[in-house]
Amino acid sequence: METLLHNLALGFSVLANPIVLLYAFGGVLSGVIIGALPGLGPSVGIAVLLPLTYGMDPSAGIILLAGIYYGAMYGGSITAILINTPGDSAAVMTTLDGYPLTLKGQAGKALGMAAYSSVMGGTVSVVAFMLFAPIIASYALAFGSSEYFALMVLGLTSIAGMTGDSPSKGFLAAFIGLFISLIGLDLVTGVQRYVFGNVHLFSGIDFIPVAMGLFGIAEIITDKGDMKLDIDKESLKFRNLFPNKQEWKECLPHIGRGTGLGFFVGMLPGAGATIASFLSYSMAKKISKRGDEFGTGVLEGVAAPESANNAASMGAMVPMLTLGVPGSGSTAIMMGALMMLGITPGPSLFMKEAEVAWSLVASMYIGNVFLLFLGILGLPIFVRVLKVKAPILNSVVLAFILIGAYALENSMFTVGITIFFGVIGYFMKKLKVPAAPMILAIVLGYLTESNLRQALIIADGSFIGVITKPISAVILVIALIMAFGSPIMEMIKKKVAAQ
């Protein structure tokens, strides 16, 4: 414990330098803005601002990049809540209850809860990171393809909770999403699947443009423009951004669970904030007394995914720093940045470059504080956005979406995909086909297939071999329970009541 405090002190000493603090703040600020912009997520932000770190002191550089990372996790929720356009994949779940809350005039509360959940999830995770990093990380490696497959299946079962009134429509959306995720070059054999020779489809259809179209553009089209948003100034006043006691009581457990789940999932190399937010949301829905109301504007539905995605971003740093194995796309880029700055993440990082590692940890504490301030102080500005008249707001958002889609891969093709899915999204809204299952399936589909096929190769073709591995089996059982548990419980309850 002594060494721990000593190390932490070492870390904070680096931060005593105002320039470094500025970098930390700048990173978080940039992250929030980039995360809020539809289409641009932490990966893009880090990759693009990477050149700024050339020649920087490694500690400062990594602090900047880390700030962008978790800043973006919060930033994505801003537009998700206000205009139903998730800023990045990890914010998709936040739209489900965040946007309805805005429609009910409680945007301030939603944004406030998002900020608090993010910061709490992040801060607790930093502590966990500090204490458990080396130990936990070694377990994360025990997750191989079969275990990931099981995890993906678990993620897919949360679709069952998103289907709303019409399960068949929900599943239709999910399977279409699953199919879309398969378009591209096959991982195992390299053949073109449904590509028809179009080079832009080789790497498949990225899910971010789809989300921007399905949520963003479709929303713009169906916006009747006569929405008299009664966000009374009251709800924006500072004290109203604090959830009241009752709300805290309801949300805190979710934040706690979301943090734990998020941190753990984030640690698994390959699973990141997005999956963490999905799982956290569906778990919250199952456990909460108001689970049935999820989707109509329940504060818990914002707290759970937001705490999870920030916790996951911390979790993803664990394998990256302690084992040199990145836990997500963004951490992979961060690792590249570190190596460029001359630091090699890995088991001996905390010993050889203790200063860098611990200053990063210290910066994460401070960064979360910055996040809190930005979240609270910036709220009036964010909500002001809503007051803008619909056609103006819509045209500006559309402009951001279009150029954002381009910026993803510097290609107009991506913009085309976004527009195409905008059209699809419109029809889906009209026909009441839910969009969330499609997004979930696109994110998880490809991974489910590739992990299953990898696992089968490793198990020499035996499917039984894949599902009977200890960790996989446990996860699959949990998935089964979550999928079929409630209907079976209902039936049992009815039988008992009838007696």
């Binding site: 600020l29 997750f143 195992v188 080079v199 190399p269 009036p380």
Partner: protein
């Protein structure tokens, strides 16, 4: 009220702007490690070229057919950085990512620019594998001109320490006794990783099973977790884990032993004719005039002779192999032949 909000917004934007402005000019920013040693050769060489032949007058677009953070990206940006820091060219080189289609999007984009003396792209393994597997509308020999070959990435064949192998021999013995048992992980399915495995299979008469992954990080996670038994990684990726002993290096595919791994034999030493490495070079569109190619080739030669480049190469464990535009053409012809054979080999085995 409205005005106040506007002011706040403006303040945010201005501070953002200032933040960027203060940090963006890369050549000037790094006050920390500015190389005081200006390479003395360059000015003389530069004058030579300026007097003699063609000189660029527009900014050059340097296409990276892959995403940010990857091997090609780091490689290209380093070159650009060295050129700008040492003022080696009268114009700017702008590195642009055009990812997609395993490199095909970037190359077709460049090709779409037609005859231009100001656009070039990096090459790597997929420059060969994609056209040869029918996934690219471009032809290696007809649509490109070869500027300079800069480096080679060797592949390291490594095993999970828990298996107990310390030499390649031992692994081969085990594999012979247990065909189909050892799982080998690599990225993609027509990549250099796959090529390496099939070559080893054929030459050693064993049957390693290929498990494809999406990225080097995934392969690393899989082997460290014991899910696969052997793999191919680049020495820099493996770095830490080789030192800690979690991974055991069995052989390396370069011509000579790699400096940071002096105890690891090359395949050739062990009796296997495997010297395949990933080639990294620069290409331009077909039809670009020779004077232009000569200029850039000279420029890249100067880059390769700088201390910064040498440091970069050794940090990333890449071999310093420079060919100028003429040598590269021959080298490329050879390499294309090899890749054709490799693609056949992969098809036979799939």
């Amino acid at each position: 009220m409205k005005i106040r909000m506007m002011k706040l917004l403006a303040l945010m934007l201005v501070s953002m702007f200032i933040f960027t402005a203060c940090s963006s000019p890369e050549p000037e920013a790094p006050a920390v490690e500015e190389p005081a040693e200006e390479p003395t050769e360059e000015p003389a060489a530069e004058e030579e070229v300026a007097v003699e032949g063609w000189v660029p007058t527009e900014d050059v677009e340097f296409i990276i057919p892959f995403g940010a953070g990857g091997g090609s990206d780091v490689f290209a940006r380093k070159i650009v950085e060295i050129i700008s820091r040492n003022n080696m060219a009268p114009v700017n080189f702008v590195a642009t990512n055009k990812p997609g289609g395993s490199g095909v999007v970037g190359y077709t984009y460049m090709n779409g620019k037609g005859e231009s003396n100001y656009i070039m792209a990096t090459t790597s393994s997929s420059f060969y594998s994609q056209p040869l597997t029918g996934n690219s509308p471009l032809s290696i020999t007809e649509d490109f001109e070869f500027v300079a070959h800069m480096a080679k990435d060797p592949s390291l064949f490594a095993a999970n320490a828990d298996l107990g192998f310390t030499t390649l021999e031992e692994m081969v013995e085990y594999a012979k006794a247990n065909p189909g048992d050892l799982k080998y992980g690599g990225t993609g399915n027509v990549s250099d990783d796959a090529i390496l495995m099939y070559m080893v299979n054929e030459l050693a008469g064993i049957e390693l099973v290929y498990v494809p992954y999406d990225s080097g990080a995934d392969v690393l996670a899989a082997i460290l977790g014991g899910h696969i038994d052997v793999c191919a990684i680049s020495p820099s990726e493996g770095g830490e884990h080789l030192e800690t002993g979690a991974l055991v290096p069995l052989a390396v595919s370069s011509d000579d032993r790699v400096a940071i791994l002096p105890d690891v034999p090359t395949f050739t030493e062990l009796g296997f004719d495997i010297t395949h490495q990933q080639s990294r070079g620069v290409v331009m569109n077909g039809g670009t005039p020779v004077e232009v190619l000569d200029y850039y080739s000279d420029l890249f030669q100067q880059v390769s002779e700088t201390e910064e480049w040498q440091t970069f190469l050794s940090e990333n464990v890449m071999g310093d192999v420079f060919y100028d535009n003429e040598e590269y053409v021959d080298f490329n012809a050879d390499l294309t032949e090899k890749y054709i054979k490799f693609m056949d080999m992969i098809e036979r085995n799939q």
